[in-house]
């Protein structure tokens, strides 16, 4: 875990371990998350889009933290980065996210809404599954219904909730109409949701995906040993162009030190999720390439806005002013990241980048606390080593708060149940999130009926703004509504967003075509069909 695609779990489904996932003996089970802000990662740009003419051939071995013997290739069950990377090699979604987290067509060639934005017509491109069958509207409906099965708990189920699947239907072999429960202007985000993969109709009987998964993705299944390795080979017929690699092997290595050692020793060519300190040590070493995927993981402290002391917005503002963001980045992330402005989604579509950057102002923080009658505030900050930098961030913030007269006690909880524990209990906790559209962040975490509302932000007028945005066809007017929502969150929200962490990947010098503008969870992240091996 571990965590996670969507938020960082390391592990996620699997997670893991009783030692810290950084440095110690951690099992990442856990599971977790750049955007196009224009500056590509530092380091020599040998990989990326440079590197000469792509050539075919070779086997690339990629190491991820994984889920051990319980792993599965069922694309709807995936929870970890490793699961997502394997699923994307074998399967396709209807859409996927670009570097700015806007949806890009994949299996869906086009999407057309009606005037009310509650019916969407999808036209599929011509594509084939690995067994030669065409991808049809029926396959799409089967896949979505499988995910939404009320008796199951597939991860993407919550994302598909707006769709009325009973009323949705195929209107032709490659066209279908989705009927929605309410207007949803950003319906294509749903098509790109984490885990919303298209599988052939009728597939997915018990264990079938682990024996012989059939998808429409760029690689075909070769072999799979849970917790050890998965071997895939090129799909010559892939609709988006056959991959350059002959073979792709995913190996599981839960220890960061094992991943970097295997890379340095030439045992693998791609190591996912390295520590900032490791990256610094090898930045100019020349033995390996370091790829920094910027703006991948929001780093925050979440304040519960429905209970003392944070039910007073002056206290929340004081906390915004206590944070020295630069110090947090340098200390907790070893400098591998950029400061945040208390808003999610820096560099993503609709991000309100016009708001002034908040700076530390201890005098004003003290003044606000005094006005709120909270001069001698004592508070507990929940953290856990569920994600890199969490415990360090908690310690640093404790010292910063002390300068404003706030006494913070840091409480370290279990990493395996951290996200569930902090959802409703406590008052202040460390929080992080992987990349997703700003719309998804709001709908999952900031509406009255959101399922994972860690800041307990429940405001009818805010809900109404969101619904209004979803009923607005015009992009500019919708952007204005997002701006209003974000102004409000910036002024008095519950997320103290102090930074955005780089997601660090290491590759061998021979690897070319690794996209640098690709936050974790986006289309071009962990995408191996565009990667090739140069003859050294």
């Amino acid at each position: 875990m571990t965590h996670t695609p969507d938020n960082e779990r390391h592990p996620g489904l699997h997670r893991r371990g009783f030692l810290a996932a950084t440095g110690g003996l951690g099992i990442g089970i856990g599971a977790l998350a750049v955007t196009g802000c224009g500056d590509s990662g530092s380091g020599t740009a040998e990989s990326g889009t440079k590197g000469g003419k792509p050539q075919r051939g070779g086997r690339l071995r990629a190491a991820f933290a994984g889920g051990g013997a319980s792993e599965t290739l069922d694309p709807h069950l995936g929870n970890l980065f490793a699961d997502a990377a394997r699923a994307k090699a074998l399967f396709d979604k209807l859409a996927d996210f670009g570097a700015d987290l806007s949806p890009r067509p994949r299996l869906a060639a086009r999407w057309e809404p009606n005037a009310a934005l509650d019916r969407w017509t999808i036209t599929l491109r011509q594509a084939e599954f690995h067994d030669g069958r065409p991808v049809t509207a029926e396959d799409v409906l089967y896949s979505y219904r499988r995910i939404a099965d009320p008796k199951k708990a597939f991860r993407a189920k919550a994302s598909l909730e707006p769709i009325d699947l009973d009323a949705s239907r195929a209107t032709g072999p490659r066209t279908l109409e989705f009927r929605l429960k309410r207007p949803t202007a950003e319906f294509p985000n749903i098509l790109a949701a984490f885990g919303a993969y298209i599988v052939p109709k009728g597939s997915g009987e018990k264990g079938e995906f682990d024996r012989r998964p059939i998808g429409s993705g760029p690689f075909r299944f070769e072999s799979f040993a849970p917790g050890r390795s998965a071997v895939f080979r090129r799909n010559e017929e892939y609709w988006d162009g056959a991959p350059y690699l002959d073979e792709l092997e995913f190996v599981v290595a839960n220890e960061e030190s094992a991943r970097i050692n295997a890379l340095l020793g030439g045992q693998i060519e791609y190591a996912h999720e390295l520590n900032p300190t490791t990256a610094r040590a090898h930045q100019d070493g020349g033995r390996i390439e370091i790829v920094r995927l910027r703006n991948s993981a929001m780093q925050a402290f979440a304040m519960k806005t429905d209970r003392a002391p944070f039910d007073d917005k002056r206290v929340r503002e004081a906390f915004f002013l206590i944070a020295d963001r630069k110090e947090l980045i340098d200390g907790a992330l070893s400098g591998a990241g950029e400061i945040g402005n208390d808003l999610f989604g820096k560099g993503y579509t609709y991000y309100a980048d016009g708001l002034p950057q908040r700076e530390q102002d201890l005098d004003r923080a003290r003044h606000l606390l005094k006005k709120a009658g909270a001069e001698d505030l004592r508070i507990t900050l929940d953290t856990s080593d569920v994600a890199a930098g969490f415990t360090e961030a908690a310690g640093i913030f404790r010292d910063q708060a002390a300068k404003a007269g706030v006494r913070i006690k840091v409480r370290t909880g279990s990493k395996d149940s951290y996200w569930a524990d902090i959802l409703d209990s406590g008052t202040l906790c460390c929080y992080r999130s992987g990349a997703m559209p700003i719309e998804s962040h709001i709908s999952q975490r900031l509406l009255t009926d959101s399922t994972t509302n860690a800041t307990h932000w429940r405001h009818k007028d805010f809900d109404a703004l969101y619904q209004q945005a979803q009923s607005t066809r015009d992009d500019q007017r919708r952007a204005a509504l997002y701006e209003r929502m974000q102004r409000r969150l910036h002024a008095e929200g519950g997320f103290l967003v102090w930074g955005f962490a780089d997601w660090i990947v290491g590759t061998a010098r021979t690897v070319r075509g690794v996209e640098r503008q690709a936050p974790a969870n986006t289309l071009d992240w962990a995408r191996f069909d565009k990667v090739w091996l140069a003859t050294a």
Binding site: R16, G17, N254, S417, A420, T451
Partner: protein, 317 residues
């Protein structure tokens, strides 16, 4: 031999009770951990409705004692149950992880015994000398280094700097025997601490035995010093060492967890770590049974060895 048989029966019964106690304790401890398999599975998407659905699907909503009884009933038929997370039989988890771990452990033990005995006897015959002091300080020093740190150090020096050995076992799957070079560093790490503790124990036992009246008697009969050392003193020194050896086995397991993670060897230690993190009770329980049986059998064997070599020292049953 009835005395021996009665003792064996008593010991086996005691062992069964111990295993049952271990299983109960492991169950209780795992239950006591915050969160369960459903929360672990939900990860960073802890939507309460979703967790409830997962819980119902795993039948975790049934009372704990009921789940334990069902599992125990299956155990009586030799059925260790199925993983909560993947639905695969626990026996496949154990079967897949057993090979690499057994290989590491048996290689370690096969090297540990001769090295520790040899070292112990060597320094005992030179007690107080320069060699003794040198080896004593080296073993104490190595003993003080945690396995993880030693492993990182060895990998850095021998794999990354000198390029003599592969840094990890990534990509070799379970065919480790076909790639002996992969095993060198893991086994070195596993050997490091037990060699130190065991050789110190053998040394102490040998010094005592060489100074014992029966050794002096043997010398008066004109037996050679070598003969006295190996035929008369060593058997007496082996008894405590054998029992210590059996005790190092459980501790070898901790070492195995570290080594497997560090060198990416997918054995039982990895299965255990993942099982605990996922709160996958049937898997953790299955491992508890296996480790319990191994510990009981080994301790029993060690006590048998002790009885055989040193019948005069009363071995507690």
């Amino acid at each position: 031999m009835t005395g021996l048989r009665g003792w064996l029966v008593r010991r086996l019964l005691l062992g069964a009770v111990q295993i049952a106690a271990v299983v109960l304790l492991v169950f209780a401890l795992t239950e006591a951990l915050p969160g369960d398999a459903a929360t672990s599975l939900a990860g960073d998407q802890p939507d309460p409705a979703r967790i409830a659905a997962i819980r119902a699907e795993m039948e975790l909503d049934r009372p704990a004692h009921q789940r334990l009884l069902d599992w125990a009933a299956g155990l009586l038929h030799g059925d260790l149950g199925t993983s909560l997370v993947s639905g695969r039989p626990v026996t496949t988890y154990l079967g897949d992880g057993f090979g690499p771990t057994l290989l590491l452990a048996s290689l370690t033990l096969a090297l540990l015994v001769p090295i520790a005995l040899g070292l112990g006897v060597l320094v005992a015959s030179r007690a107080g000398g320069r060699t003794d002091r040198l080896i004593a300080s080296v073993t104490l020093g190595v003993y003080a280094v945690p396995e993880f740190a030693l492993g990182v150090l060895l990998v850095t020096v021998f794999a990354l700097r000198l390029d003599w050995l592969p840094p990890t076992a990534v990509g070799y799957g379970t065919d480790l025997l076909d790639h002996p070079a992969v095993l060198v560093l893991p086994v070195l790490v596993l050997l490091s601490r037990p060699v130190c503790s065991l050789s110190r124990l053998v040394r102490a036992g040998m010094i005592d035995a060489l100074a014992a009246p029966h050794a002096a008697q043997a010398r008066r009969y004109g037996l050679s010093e070598t003969r006295v050392r190996y035929a008369h003193a060593l058997p007496n020194a082996i008894a405590p060492a054998a029992q210590q050896l059996a005790r190092t086995v459980d501790w070898l397991l901790c070492g195995v967890i570290v080594v497997e993670a560090l060198f990416v060897i997918p054995g039982l230690g990895t299965v255990l770590m993942n099982g605990v993190a996922e709160r996958d009770l049937p898997v953790v329980q299955g491992l508890a049974v296996v480790f319990g049986v191994i510990a009981v059998v080994l301790n029993l064997a060690a006590d048998l060895v002790a009885r055989r070599f040193s019948p005069r020292t009363e071995v507690a049953a």
